[in-house]
Amino acid sequence: MSLTRQEVEKIAHLARLRITEQEMPVYVHSLSAIVEFVDQLAKADVAGVAPMAHPLAGQTQRLRADEVTETDRHEKYQANAPAVQAGLYLVPRVIE
């Protein structure tokens, strides 16, 4: 299975990646190659094989007790942020 240019444009948009005109043919070619490689799995006979949701077969999710274990450390965490105001992280304006 190979990808069309339109499909690569859509994937790039969903992933918020900007791909230039020059780069586009390279992506179409190499992404298609990856998909074709993985596509070999479709030939495997999986009759009687239960679908896995996780590679650690047979293990299940550990649960934690409902306890508050975290304290307020927002000043420390926000030291990394490009812009902060009144405790809020600032981002370019987004409005519906």
Partner: protein
């Protein structure tokens, strides 16, 4: 003009009332200063791992049992991928295939008193996103991630509702249920209980569904009703004028009472779900399910049925009195005080005077100013004839405002009913003597004047004459006896 049928399905997000978040140990309390309850897991720092909150699972199972649903012994968490500033990971952890709660149903009461079963397709666990704030910020949005990671139960209905009214009835029933189960505080102003509505129309008799629009941002029962009515009218107008409905997400604007298209959400509609590699499958064994089952309270429908049969109440009264666990408990405490034989009197007072006083002061029943014992004490005085029902209302008002018991108010205000025949007869004599013309007219056949005399005697006795005795004595005296 074509006859249209409306088809509605609802997705309800109920915030689960856990102390900590679904995948982290940060607090979930509402109203904390921005970002003071957002830890490294909620902020999506590299290298962190989610660990599932056992209480969120227990609450989801409790809900599933209450709607008679199959509980999945194995369920899977998936990543729902989209970009938005209040979603730091770039994906929301949700469930896609194999949700924790499978198919179930609830029953709603229609206007004509008929019951209708609404199917629930599934309910799944997921995390809430943060909040974006725009006010007071120039050319920027502020992000508060306190809400990020708060556990949600998303409850998805079948497209079983046929009017805005039915949709509201379903939503109210679910709201009542999650509060009964104590899994969600139901606070709609704070966003603890939110609704998206899928709405379409089709010619009546058509079996295929029409194209639907999804309306978001419905955070009150009234908005759900208005938004659906508006959307139905919009779709019908569109089709009848030759257009067609497109599948899209629309936002309800309560100020303008209209829905409008949200283009940004349409682009994001390809969520590319896949199983979250950070979380193993969730296993829920029989033992766990049965342990949760033992914690189920008496459910609203069961309570209403019991009230109706044990206390000979109408279906309507029984439903109103079981609208919340607190209301039901209050009513039962009053009945305990006055006896089951007087349950109807208790019901009338709880639904009448008490409810209107609560409404007037904007109080919930657990903040009532007249407790169940005190109301029971007041009703005792009606039952034993100390005061009439009319005077009792006056006493109730005084109890509400002064916080005193009925007996103290009856004594202090001298409201005890006059049951002495002699005293009532004297009052009647005075009234008759003062109104010779009315007496003559009455005796000449103007029966309606009986009410006039009752009113005059009541006025003369400050409303305290025993009504039955007054009627009997007055009848005798007016007749010339």
């Amino acid at each position: 003009m074509m006859d249209w049928e409306v088809v509605i399905g609802l997705e309800i997000h109920a915030q689960l009332a856990t102390r900590s978040k679904i995948f982290s140990g940060a607090a979930t309390a509402y109203g904390a200063p921005p970002n003071t309850q957002a830890c490294l897991v909620d902020l999506a720092y590299p290298g962190v791992l989610p660990v599932l909150n056992a209480e969120a699972v227990r609450m989801a199972v409790k809900f599933g049992l209450a709607i008679g649903a199959q509980i999945s012994e194995r369920s899977i968490f998936a990543r729902k991928n989209y970009f938005y500033p209040d979603l730091p990971k770039g994906y929301q952890i949700s469930q896609y295939e194999q949700p924790v709660v499978g198919r179930g149903s609830i029953t709603i009461a229609l206007d004509d008193g008929e019951a209708k079963t609404i199917g629930i397709t599934r309910a799944h666990l997921e995390e809430d996103a943060g909040k974006s704030l725009h006010e007071g910020l120039a050319n920027a949005s502020g992000i508060d991630l306190n809400r990020a990671g708060t556990p949600l139960l998303e409850i998805v209905s079948e497209p079983d509702m046929r009017s805005a009214k039915e949709a509201v009835a379903y939503m109210k029933k679910l709201h009542m249920l999650v509060r009964y189960l104590e899994i969600c505080d139901g606070n709609m102003q704070e966003g603890s209980f939110r609704c998206d509505a899928n709405v379409s129309v089709r010619p009546r008799g058509e079996r295929k569904f029409g194209t639907r629009a999804e309306i978001k941002n419905l955070n009150s029962f009234r908005f759900v009703e208005k938004a659906i009515q508006h959307e139905v009218a919009r779709q019908i107008d569109l089709i009848e004028s030759g257009g067609h409905v497109v599948q899209e997400t629309r936002l309800y604007d309560s100020d303008k009472d209209e829905t409008r298209s949200m283009r940004s959400k349409e682009e994001a509609n390809d969520y590319r779900y896949f199983p979250d590699p950070d979380l193993l499958p969730l296993a829920i064994d029989r033992e766990f399910i049965e342990a949760v089952r033992t914690t189920l309270p008496e459910l609203p429908d069961q309570k209403a049925a019991r009230f109706a049969s044990a206390f000979q109440l109408s279906a309507y009264d029984a439903q109103v009195l079981s609208a919340s666990r607190e209301m039901g408990a209050y009513f039962e405490a009053v009945v305990e005080h006055v006896g089951a034989a007087q349950a109807k009197l208790a019901a009338n007072w709880v639904m009448g005077e008490l409810s209107s006083a609560l409404n007037r002061d904007g109080l919930e029943i657990d903040a009532t100013r007249v407790g169940s014992r005190s109301l029971g004490g007041l009703l005792q005085r009606i039952i034993d004839g100390t005061i009439s029902g009319k005077i009792a209302k006056e006493v109730f008002e005084a109890m509400w405002s002064e916080g005193r018991e009925a007996d103290a108010i009856i004594e202090a205000k001298g409201l005890r009913q006059i049951t002495d025949d002699g005293a009532i007869a004297r009052a009647i004599d005075t009234v008759i003597a003062a109104n010779p013309q009315q007496l003559a007219d009455y005796r000449a056949g103007k029966d309606k004047l009986f009410g006039f005399f009752v009113g005059q005697v009541m006025k003369a006795t400050g409303g305290k004459a025993n009504p039955a005795q007054l009627n009997a004595l007055l009848k005798a005296k007016l007749g010339g006896g």
